[in-house]
């Protein structure tokens, strides 16, 4: 048996890597991918705790998270396309309209 904490370590590592990517990468698409990584880390945590407690609420949550991730990806990618169409770039360093 693998202790649950191992899964949690894995989830934490995945989450932090995703976060690192979000904070460091400049390509908006890659940033989105890293967000997906973070969502997956959350899912993993849900499932690990579901296994630990032996009930299926964690599974239900994971299903919902996947659905939300799909919606987020659809809207996010649409925004990326719209931004690319207006600026010709998906580099988030170039998108600074909200500067002071």
């Amino acid at each position: 048996m693998v202790p649950i904490s191992y899964y949690l370590f894995l989830a934490a590592a995945l989450f932090c890597m995703g976060m690192f990517g979000v904070l460091v990468r400049r390509n908006a698409l890659v940033v989105f991918m890293c967000v997906e990584l973070m969502l997956n880390a959350a899912n993993l945590t849900f499932l690990a705790f579901a296994r630990m407690r032996g009930d299926s609420i964690g599974h239900v949550s994971a299903v919902f998270v996947i659905a939300v991730a799909a919606a987020e990806a659809a809207v996010g990618l649409a925004i990326v396309i719209a931004v690319f169409r207006s600026r010709g770039s998906v580099n988030i360093e170039d998108i600074k309209t909200m500067k002071h």
Partner: protein
């Protein structure tokens, strides 16, 4: 069927009628709404119709209600059960429209009460009110603000009816404030004239000072009732055939400020048995240690402040003469006949409390006498016809206060009624004079109107004779009833007041005769002044003269009420009629009354003797003849010759109203203005405007312009900050757990 049994058989049974008492108030209120909202599009004639018929309907209902109060089924008069235990209020109708508001154990019901006192006033308000509405249709025929005027006038009538019909102090206060507002609106009716708008404000603010006293007094009464119900035992309430359980049940049901509950408490207080007497200290609450009698005196003195504001007594009388800025019918209705008598009504309504405090009674009487004398003296030298009448109103109100203060409530009420008739007649006559003379108000520029305005002249003459107190007219009897009571009632510990006030009263009567004769003579007799605005005055139309005639007839006829016409009693008619209301205070057959039980007032119910009648009459005639002599014989002959120095000084002082306004200006208004100026400069302009308001804006702007450099527009920088915050939050949470 003879007359007496006719009186005792109301056309509508009281049980039926008392369900509709609210309509007496609702009708003029509806009229005010319709005139105010739709008046402009309805047109002048429709507004007249609506406003007059609203008041007329109210008058008809009032007559029915008044009739029903005297209704008796098989000798048992109609009555209202006493929720506080004890005897029911006889000859009264009552409608309870449920709880108005309640907070904790304090509650106020929306209850309407019509007994002989409020019934009398209902008739005066709606009756005189209707006549004045009718008069106004003609008087205001050239004014564009007619719809506003009639809306305000109807609103006033509704509020005055609320004041009179309220069965508790809070509802009375609603009407009290409402009439104040209506008065403010009507004084400043021609608000484009700055002086008139100022007069409205002056009236309102002066009234506010009095209302403050009224409010504090009401709070004191609430505390007093609260202390009483805690301290009183069954022995206290034994004499009123109630128990402390029933009394507190009544409080729970009706609230502490109903007149019925106060009357029950007042009857229980002076009685020797039981735990609570007038000199018992209050055991708990904010008033702990003070005696019941002491608190009561303070409350009554504060009520006096309120009444002085509304009824234009010293020291708050200054607004009434300025209130003449409003249209003349308004002066007649509000500032002579009805609203200004609210103070007198208040003390009559609370007579059972007033008689327990000789100090308060003496203060009321002395204030009344002083006001009356001062106003009469000022009226000597006023040249504005409405100002003279205004000061005369103040003076007459002072006489009513004298009566109230000396415990002769029925006479004060009678004088209130007769005064409403003849003073309304005088004011409307003055309005008619102004209407026919191009709005001229200076009596020196009138004169000789006798032939040109016969109806106005006749009615004005009758009203003048009534107010001066010439024998067969109502003013003589009502005033003399007051003087007689003042002379023969004695306040315990303050016996000197009676004699003193009686002679002051005689002086006032002489002064009244003097200035009223002067007013009448200068306006109607002699030659037409060469300075008159129009060469020939014209008599007014019938809607103006008809009310004059009716009021003049009433001024004569009302004297009936002062006669002892009853077969089995030597009381005057009015005294007998009002005894159900005042028996708690001054007693009646089979009812000792609070005054006797508390030993505060020694009452004398004898009728005036012929000697005192003759003396009063002689005084009045002397005053009138003096005026006639001076103004008809002496001065015209000496026209152009300057009066002696001292006479001019006196005249100038009186003309300037004894510099009371200037004194107030110096003593109160200037310091207040200075304080306001300091507060404005230091608190408002500097602290609030500069430091707080502009300072906040300045700091925000500076901080914002410094912080905006943080806004790099770099999404990842924002995300990094969020990540840091997340790190901090998680760290904190984990450290808490570890």
């Amino acid at each position: 069927m003879d007359f007496q049994s006719l009186l005792k058989t109301a056309p509508i049974h009281p049980d039926v009628l008392q369900q509709s008492l609210w309509m007496i108030i609702a009708l003029p209120l509806l009229g005010a709404f319709v005139c105010g909202v739709f008046g402009r599009m309805m047109g002048r004639a429709n507004v007249h119709l609506v406003a007059c018929s609203a008041v007329a309907g109210s008058f008809i209902l009032s007559v029915l209600a008044f009739w029903a109060t005297s209704h008796a089924d098989a000798g048992v008069p109609t009555s209202v059960a006493n929720a506080f235990g004890g005897a029911p209020s006889r000859y009264a109708l009552w409608q309870d429209l449920g709880t108005w508001f309640s907070a904790g154990d304090f509650r106020v019901n929306f209850g309407l009460l019509v007994d002989h006192l409020s019934g009398t006033l209902l008739l005066v308000i709606t009756g005189v009110g209707f006549l004045i509405h009718l008069y106004s249709t003609s008087y205001m025929e050239h004014d564009d603000g007619y719809w506003r005027y009639f809306a305000y006038l109807n609103l006033f009538v509704a509020m005055m009816l609320t004041l009179v019909m309220g069965d508790n102090l809070v509802l009375l206060f609603v009407g009290w404030e409402g009439v104040g507002m209506a008065s403010y609106l009507l004084i400043g009716f021609w608000y484009t004239d700055a002086a008139k708008a100022w007069a409205g404000r002056k009236a309102f603010i002066t009234n506010r000072i009095g209302d403050f006293g009224f409010l504090i007094a009401s709070f004191l009464v609430v505390l007093l009732v609260g202390a009483f119900v805690k301290q009183a035992n069954d022995a206290d309430l034994q004499p009123v055939a109630s128990t402390s359980a029933r009394y507190s049940a009544g409080l729970e049901q009706r609230g502490p400020l109903t007149f019925q509950g106060l009357e029950t408490m007042a009857r229980a207080l002076p009685d020797a048995s039981g735990a609570v007497k007038l000199d018992t200290p209050i055991s708990s609450g904010p008033l702990e240690g003070r005696t019941y009698g002491g608190v009561l005196t303070v409350a009554l003195l504060l009520f006096l402040l309120g009444a002085a504001g509304k009824s234009a007594q010293l020291p708050l009388y200054v607004w009434l003469p300025d209130a003449m800025a409003g249209p003349t019918p308004v002066s007649a209705l509000i500032h002579a006949a009805t609203m200004v008598t609210a103070g007198v009504y208040l003390f009559c309504r609370m007579s059972f409390l007033l008689v327990m405090s000789p100090t308060a009674m003496a203060t009321v009487a002395i204030i009344g006498a002083a006001t009356s004398l001062l106003a009469a003296l000022i009226a000597f030298a006023q040249d504005d016809i409405k100002k003279v009448l205004a000061y005369s109103t103040v003076s007459q109100l002072g006489i009513m206060f004298m009566g109230v203060g000396m415990g002769i409530f029925w006479a004060a009420t009678l004088h209130l009624v007769t005064h409403a008739f003849f003073k309304a007649c005088l004011f409307l006559g003055a309005g008619s004079v102004m209407h026919g003379n191009g709005d001229e108000t200076d009596i020196k520029k009138l004169g000789g109107l006798r032939k040109e305005m016969p109806w106005t002249w006749v009615t004005f003459l009758i009203a003048t004779l009534a107010i001066t107190g010439i024998v067969p007219l109502s003013g003589f009897f009502s005033k003399d009833a007051i003087y007689h009571g003042v002379h023969h009632n004695h306040l315990h510990g303050l016996e000197w007041v009676s004699g003193f006030l009686y002679y002051v009263g005689l002086v006032i009567a002489a002064c009244t005769a003097f200035y009223m004769s002067r007013l009448y003579l200068l306006t109607f007799e002699g030659q037409r002044s060469p300075k008159a605005k129009v060469a020939h005055a014209h008599e007014s139309a019938w809607p103006m003269t008809l009310p004059l005639v009716i009021l003049a007839v009433l001024s004569v006829a009302a004297s009936v009420y002062a006669f002892p016409l009853l077969a089995n009693s030597k009381q005057a008619l009015m005294e007998n009629f009002l005894s159900p209301v005042f028996s708690a205070a001054v007693g009646s057959r089979g009812d000792a009354g609070i005054a006797k039980a508390a030993g505060t007032v020694a009452l004398d119910t004898s009728l005036p003797s012929l000697g005192s009648y003759a003396m009063a009459w002689a005084t009045v005639v002397a005053g009138g003849l003096l005026a006639a002599f001076l103004y008809m014989r002496f001065f015209p002959a000496q026209a152009g010759v300057p009066a002696p120095g001292f006479a001019r000084l006196i005249r100038r002082t009186a003309q300037n109203k004894f510099y009371v306004d200037e004194l107030y200006e110096f003593l109160i208004i200037r310091p207040v203005k200075f304080l306001s100026f300091v507060l404005f400069r230091v608190v408002d302009a500097f602290l609030i405007d500069t430091v707080v308001v502009r300072g906040t804006a300045w700091v925000t702007a500076r901080v914002g312009s410094a912080l905006r450099y943080v806004q790099t527009g770099d999404t990842q920088a924002y995300a990094a900050v969020m990540a840091l915050a997340l790190l901090g939050g998680v760290l904190y949470a984990i450290l808490k757990v570890l």
